[in-house]
């Protein structure tokens, strides 16, 4: 015999699941934890393009995100450079351009709909 209080909890949880399933079905996205972190992070986003020992800041963050995503992998690798601190590196091979992003920029990239 399930106590009435437990029924209330179960049914409330199911109701919540229904709301989430409905939102997903209708394509309505709730703000994620990453988005909240992105808003709260006061540090400016930083994207650096790296090629042959040379780092250059790329202020077109949208394009930077897309190019970073196109690389074979992104991994956490903190470095302090002249242009600022980099937390993530996205790259494919040694001979082509790779990208360094700080945490703020990386979170921005994660909000892009192609980013999985």
């Amino acid at each position: 015999m399930v106590p009435p209080k437990a029924w209330v909890v179960i049914n409330f949880s199911l109701g919540l699941v229904i709301v989430l399933l409905l939102l997903n079905l209708l394509g309505i996205n709730l703000p994620s934890l990453g988005q909240v972190q992105y808003v709260l992070d006061r540090e400016p986003p930083l994207c650096l393009a790296y090629w042959q020992g040379h780092y250059e800041s790329w202020t077109d963050l949208d394009s930077c995100c897309l190019e970073a995503y196109k690389q074979l992998n992104c991994f956490f690798h903190q470095q302090n450079l002249e242009q600022g601190r980099v937390d993530w590196v996205c790259r494919t091979g040694e001979s082509s351009v790779s990208y360094g992003l700080n945490a703020k920029a990386y979170r921005y990239c994660q909000q892009q709909s192609y980013w999985r």
Binding site: N11, V17, E56, D60, L72, S96, V97, S113, Y114
Partner: protein, 373 residues
């Protein structure tokens, strides 16, 4: 008789014992199952209808035999991921673009799998421009900035074309003809406008000699210069030198494609305060000089999205402004399908002419080697 009476009595009693909590639970669990099933169906693209198989005879396609959905789908290039392959094939999108993979075999196999059974094959695209190299895990190429002569440019173009053709690619979003590359310092040719144009021309000849179409980018220029952050969307003053390579290459009639950037341009090419990619003013200016395929740069960027209050308006504008092919790497096939439906609605409501759609589809199919009637 007695037993029957007892049974029915028992049923009534049992029925009566269902509390409000149990009844609510039963209704909710049914709803969870239905909605869960619909979500799974949506995620697997099962809600997207199949497009009819196009009728192709002797490499000839009758344009009127394609549905409006099929025509608009042909105008879309998506990310050629393996997890969405069935949905892209079902929708018959025009092209698939590949990012970095670990080896050549993986590219070959995936492309073969994609093209299998397609009456109208996919345009298979890559971003190979020397130092921008999705294949760099297993193959290196010369950076465009390291090319000094037209002979060398032709050879590099031919080498890249041969490599791409072997893997199954049909189009390269290259070369960059922006006059300056202040960010990577490797993506564009060096020299003045005439030298850059001559090197690009030779590179294009080399690339296309191997059956891989070239795309000059990024119209109208100045996309590779260091800018101040401006809400993540970039504005630039374009002068006549910036558009010179595009004009000259277009005149040569060999160039197959031009890619338009998100830059808000003023000066020699005025995008009217809008990003060039959605500006009919900027695209009209390009179309007056160029009869090949106009590609949008990837549209799925927050900066461009934030320019619009609704994504539907962005989708509509990027088609109606005059792009022949819209590059959209959204990984959700339902979203790509939705984009197609928005454009379709625009055509049906007379906001976008079907002639414009037909002209774009004709260019695309001709690039794929079909005769279009």
């Amino acid at each position: 008789m007695k037993m029957d009476n007892l049974k029915s009595k028992h049923k009534i009693v049992k029925k009566g014992r269902w509390t409000i909590h149990e009844k609510t639970f039963f209704v909710l669990i049914i709803l969870v199952l239905i909605l869960g099933g619909m979500n799974i169906a949506k995620a697997r693209g099962l809600l997207i209808p199949f497009s009819p198989t196009p009728i192709v005879e002797d490499r000839t396609i009758e344009l009127s035999s394609l549905t409006l959905d099929q025509k608009i789908a042909q105008m879309v290039v998506v990310h050629g991921s393996t997890w969405n392959m069935e949905q892209w094939k079902k929708m018959q999108v025009g092209g698939i673009h590949f990012f970095a993979l670990k080896d050549a075999q993986l590219y070959e196999q995936t492309i073969i799998e994609y093209q299998k059974g397609m009456k109208v094959p996919f345009m298979v695209t890559a971003d190979l421009e020397g130092c921008w190299n999705p294949f760099s895990y297993f193959h290196n190429f010369t950076a465009l900035s390291e090319i000094n002569t037209t002979e060398q440019a032709y050879q590099v173009g031919a080498e890249e074309g041969r490599f791409l053709h072997t893997l199954g690619f049909t189009l390269d979003f290259s070369p960059v003809v922006d006059l300056k590359d202040e960010i990577w310092k490797c993506r564009s040719f060096t020299g003045d406008k005439a030298q850059v144009t001559a090197l690009a021309q030779a590179y294009i000849k080399g690339l296309q000699s191997q059956g891989v179409a070239a795309t000059a980018k990024h119209y109208p220029g100045k996309t590779l210069v260091v800018q101040d952050p401006h809400k993540y969307i970039v504005a630039a003053e374009i002068d006549s030198a910036d558009v010179y390579p595009f004009q000259l290459l277009a005149e040569g009639k060999e160039l197959k494609g031009v890619m338009v950037s998100h830059i808000i341009s003023s000066g020699a090419v005025d995008s009217g305060g809008k990003p060039a990619v959605v500006s009919s003013q900027a695209l009209k200016s390009l179309r007056s000089e160029f009869n090949g395929i106009i590609f949008s740069d990837e549209v799925n960027m927050l900066g461009l999205k934030n320019y619009y209050s609704s994504l539907d308006d962005l989708y509509f504008d990027v088609f109606s402004s005059g792009n022949d092919v819209v590059v959209n790497f959204n990984e959700d096939p339902n979203e790509i399908y939705r984009m197609i439906q928005i454009v379709k609605k625009g055509v049906q409501e007379g906001k976008l002419s079907s002639e414009q759609i037909d002209a774009s589809v004709k260019r695309i199919l001709e690039l794929k080697g079909f005769r279009v009637v």
